[in-house]
């Protein structure tokens, strides 16, 4: 039977470990050990912050768990109890601003994204295929399109002006990064670049240039 006394959940810069209220310490320890050995390589070489939620633990139990976890991964900050609860609530209730530019949650979308379809994700979005006119990609972080962008792409939709849009072939109806909105110049017949380009915001102006 699958042991569900402990639930691991990824979060920014670390792991949230939810302990089902009413679980006994033995099954908690076992479950954590099992889960860690499954995902050991995932944590290789990174410092992982831990947040415990759910059942309140005795101080001695806390130390035991930390010991177990530290054999497998390098631990950064650890939160038990109230402080964690507060942060946990923040994560869910307030829509927080996704700040990952170099790393973060990413959703992969199999294209084409057709007219009327809207992909919304609070992290980064990678589209494998085209985004057709009338299709929309809204991401909290960066957007990468392995194909042609003919629709709308909005990177940094939760306010992250540092995010970028990279695309193999830019023919968008509109692109937006953070609060900046831009559309292709009118009247200019497409000079089609055959190389990938990157869009980003520089001094409040949206710039598109070849990926170097």
């Amino acid at each position: 039977m699958k042991d569900d006394s402990v639930l691991f959940k990824g979060m920014r810069g670390g792991l949230k470990i939810h302990i089902k209220p009413g679980s006994d310490i033995i099954s908690i320890k076992k479950s954590i050990k099992d889960k860690l050995s499954e995902g050991r390589h995932f944590f290789d070489g990174t410092t992982v912050n831990l947040v415990f939620t759910g059942q309140t633990l005795m101080p001695s139990e806390q130390i035991e768990l930390i010991d177990i976890i530290s054999t497998q991964i390098e631990i950064g900050d650890v939160d038990f109890g109230d402080r964690a609860k507060e942060q946990d609530d923040n994560l869910h209730e307030k829509s927080y601003m996704f700040t990952g530019i170099e790393e973060g949650m990413t959703r992969f979308v199999q294209g084409p994204v057709r007219s009327g379809q809207r992909i919304f994700y609070e992290g980064n979005v990678v589209v494998i295929g085209d985004v057709n006119p009338g299709g929309e990609i809204i991401a909290g972080g960066n957007i990468i399109i392995i194909g042609t962008l003919r629709g709308l792409a909005h990177a940094g939709a939760t306010g992250n002006g540092d995010s970028v849009i990279v695309c193999f072939n830019f023919k968008p109806t509109q692109i937006r990064i953070g609060k900046i909105i831009s559309r292709p110049p009118e009247g200019e017949d497409d000079v089609e670049p055959v190389y990938p380009e990157i869009a980003y915001v520089k001094d409040d102006i949206l710039v598109i240039e070849p990926v170097k």
Partner: protein, 269 residues
């Protein structure tokens, strides 16, 4: 066991009804038992295009409401053996039928016919959902215009969410002279956006207007380019491997002479 095709487009006026009538006729000419369902309740046209308007006694709504038996509502075509029409009701609207009822209807018809072609109404609302409910496959009709291609794209996405993947595309009303001048989207432009299998390309042909008004599908006109295109499409549906017509080729002077004398029955396209 028959196969149910829905013919749809999103945008209105691209030739769904004409396409349905002509593919249906061409399949019947190939000896198949075919029923055409007009799912455009309240705005029925398919009966007019087929010239069967004055033979309608019962309609689709009568069937699903149990006013008549299915057999009674089917209108047999006056010219082609094996071709039947299930007309839409004109005095009702789309809400008179539910997707479940359509599904049941299609299942019943499958037992009696080789092909069931459903002429979908324009739009993406209730009428569209009715039309696709019983369908196994879909044929998306578009014309080489940006707005029509956009709507076709939307429809392809909606078909996928209705469990009809891999629809087939018909590009209707292509004008080769405009394409050559670069004033119309060509087949490649359309394909690039939609990215689905091309079932056929129907050239713009004034014979369509004439035959549609007369209630005679253009398919029976051996000399019409559009008629040939529709016959080819029907053969492709039947699994024959027929290359796309070479629309690029202007008729030579000799072809025109031959056609004048009616000895050009076996043109290569």
């Amino acid at each position: 066991m028959g196969e149910v095709f829905v013919i749809t487009s999103g945008k209105g006026g691209v030739g769904k009804t004409t396409t349905t009538a002509n593919i249906g006729t061409a399949l019947a000419l190939e000896g198949k038992r075919v029923v055409l369902i007009d799912a455009d309740i309240g705005l029925r046209n398919l009966d007019v295009v087929l010239g069967l308007e004055n033979r309608i006694v019962y309609d689709l709504v009568d069937v699903v409401e149990g006013t008549c038996r299915l057999r009674q509502a089917l209108v047999r075509d006056k010219r082609f053996e094996g071709l039947y029409l299930l007309p839409a009701a004109q005095t009702r609207d789309k809400n008179a039928v539910s997707p479940e009822q359509m599904q049941k209807l299609c299942d019943d018809l499958k037992e009696q016919f080789d092909f069931i072609l459903i002429d979908s109404p324009a739009g993406i609302e209730h009428g569209f959902k009715n039309a696709v409910a019983g369908a196994d496959r879909a044929i998306v009709v578009t014309v080489p215009e940006v707005s029509a291609v956009r709507d076709a794209d939307r429809i392809i996405g909606m078909l996928a969410t209705n469990d009809i993947p891999n629809p087939l595309l018909i590009i209707n009303r292509l004008r080769i002279d405009l394409v050559k001048r670069g004033d119309m989207m060509n087949i490649e432009d359309t394909n690039e956006i939609l990215g689905i299998d091309l079932l056929g390309v129907v050239p713009d042909d004034e014979n369509i207007v004439i035959s549609t008004n007369r209630g005679e599908p253009v398919t029976i006109d051996e000399d019409s380019m559009a008629g040939t295109a529709f016959r080819n499409i029907a053969k492709r549906i039947l699994g024959e491997d027929i290359p796309l017509m070479d629309l690029d080729e202007e008729d030579t002077f000799m072809d025109k002479i031959k056609r004048l004398f009616g000895i050009n029955k076996n043109r290569k396209n």
